[in-house]
Symmetry: C2
Subunit: 381 residues, 2 copies
Amino acid sequence: MLRKLVALAVTAALFGSGLGSTDALAETVSTERHKVTVSTLADKLEKPWGMAFLPAGDLLITEKSGTLRRVTLSGDISSPLSGVPAVVDRSQGGLLDIAVDPNFGDNQYVYLSYSEADPQGGEGNSTAVMRAKLTANGLTNGKVIFRGAPKYKSGAHFGSRLVFAPDGHLFITLGDRYSAMNDAQTLDNHHGKVVRIKPDGSVPSDNPFVGKQGALPEIWSFGHRNVQGAAIHPTTGKLWTVEHGPKGGDEINIPEAGHNYGWPEATYGVDYDGSIISDKTHVEGTVQPHYYWVPSIATSNMIFYTGDKFPAWKGDLLVAALKGSQVARLDLDGDRVMHEETLFEEAVTQRIRDIEQGPDGYIYLITDDRNGQLIQIKPAQ
Amino acid sequence: MLRKLVALAVTAALFGSGLGSTDALAETVSTERHKVTVSTLADKLEKPWGMAFLPAGDLLITEKSGTLRRVTLSGDISSPLSGVPAVVDRSQGGLLDIAVDPNFGDNQYVYLSYSEADPQGGEGNSTAVMRAKLTANGLTNGKVIFRGAPKYKSGAHFGSRLVFAPDGHLFITLGDRYSAMNDAQTLDNHHGKVVRIKPDGSVPSDNPFVGKQGALPEIWSFGHRNVQGAAIHPTTGKLWTVEHGPKGGDEINIPEAGHNYGWPEATYGVDYDGSIISDKTHVEGTVQPHYYWVPSIATSNMIFYTGDKFPAWKGDLLVAALKGSQVARLDLDGDRVMHEETLFEEAVTQRIRDIEQGPDGYIYLITDDRNGQLIQIKPAQ
Ligand SMILES: [Ca+2]
Ligand SMILES: [Ca+2]
């Protein structure tokens, strides 16, 4: 109930129109199984990175430079919300993903991932996660529940997608920080890892490396490159992730507790001159990708579509991508990919940074641009 | 030993050059994992349809109009071999696939599939399979070991790929004859079926419908459209097939005994105007495809690559296609497809009708044209 009051208050106090003088632009697109409209609801977001729906249907959207905004489906964009942590807005770093607590109605918690400077004043940085309460004016009671280690001087590969498992645990996906890629194979650091914690930052006792000498207990899986997409499979409840490959070799994985996903030992990245490359694709003790792309599509986030608005897409995995401004629709039979369709390559013109399913069953995209867009996908009439 | 003598005799008596005045043309092609050369060994085959390697390394190649030729890897094409059955060379019908007995060294048996006229003089035809002995001059002792029922008046969808299972049984893939598509769902006919027989034409007692009232006992699986590709998985020993979809929806299946693969009730074929189509993709009691293509690539035959010449392709499924003159390379992890690469789209310009792996570990293609080609794929130096 509080949430609803908050929404009304924010609407009155903070919103301006996000679409300037133009109305929402709608384009009709034919796909294999549905004819859809692609509409731009707002186009004045500044490099938006992550979005999350509040139960009432408004969106919280991060902008990489460090602002968090509340956005309505009418395209109204609020002023920056207060209480957001300071971020290192450099290269790939900044304010990144946002997640809403599964019990938001009771606790009003939201979670932000971001690149955090070294509190000791060193030159390094790392991915961190803050939990805070959403109020009418912004965030309060912010608490850092995860801080990547070590702090490392790099502007690249922060990972940072946040997803809740059905059992209430929070998965945080991380990157290898590029020049620290070899760290992805050792357990004394967070580079190239997927992490699993409780929402208060404590470590679940059933994590795979709890009590293992020299291993950080919050690690769930390792050997990843830069995991920027994650979603929970709607029927198995398992975590699926998607990561950027080096040059080709973007991967979907289904990370299991304690498993090694190979990077940088094993990869499907290729040299495009067509010679046999030395990089190995199979390395003993590492798990093959579930599915991969060559050349890279530069994967961002992904969702399993579970709504009723697109019946033929129900259960499909929708993987958003920066390259080609596309969404790869993967038709699944159980876990197995049996078909890939490329969606929206023409209708969307900016790099797609995040994809979500709304409470209304429609599909929403945000695009990575100084005039970034919020896009809505609906069935065509 | 006889085989070797036969080869020498045929070489002396029958061969002319298949490539006219030109030398083999070789083009170097870069792919994701291997740089290869694509060479035309012969280009005077008339609408070749099926090919099979003899143990010594020569090929037997069928031509749709009803001729069978022996072809060397030097590009020498023999005169037509004698003893080939009469075929109905009309529309998609004609002399189709050829298989060499796994014990050819002992028995010299080869198997031909073809469209056979009604022996009673009716207007119908059906796919039939003849077994015969290969001698120096041609085939002798021909015996029809399978005759599709009913004879039906249609020029389309004969299926007709022949593959031997590791246990010595012969799989024959069939088509729905197009206008008889609904027959694919009933067991009293061969339309839209995969059939499993012994090499002498008798019915294995462990076939799924043996003793079932109203069912033809040679049926292995049903609900297929037009299965023109088949191969045995090298480690599981299971049959894999590929069939043409109606308009989109070409399918790979792993046909299990007695299972229903859905056609024409369930299909991933689409209307390209983008409206939701009425065709169902999921029907209770039918098996989903293992993998499918939309739009269609018009699949012909396929192989699992098991040689040592292309190490990074070992275990991959190579699916040849008429459309785009391409080979789809499917990278497998176990049975699961984890990646598709399109090969040879530029280097091959004619529709690819058959694909085989040679005893030398190279890959061979034949193309469907009045000046059809025999093409060899080798690693580039
Ligand atoms: Ca990997
Ligand atoms: Ca089917």
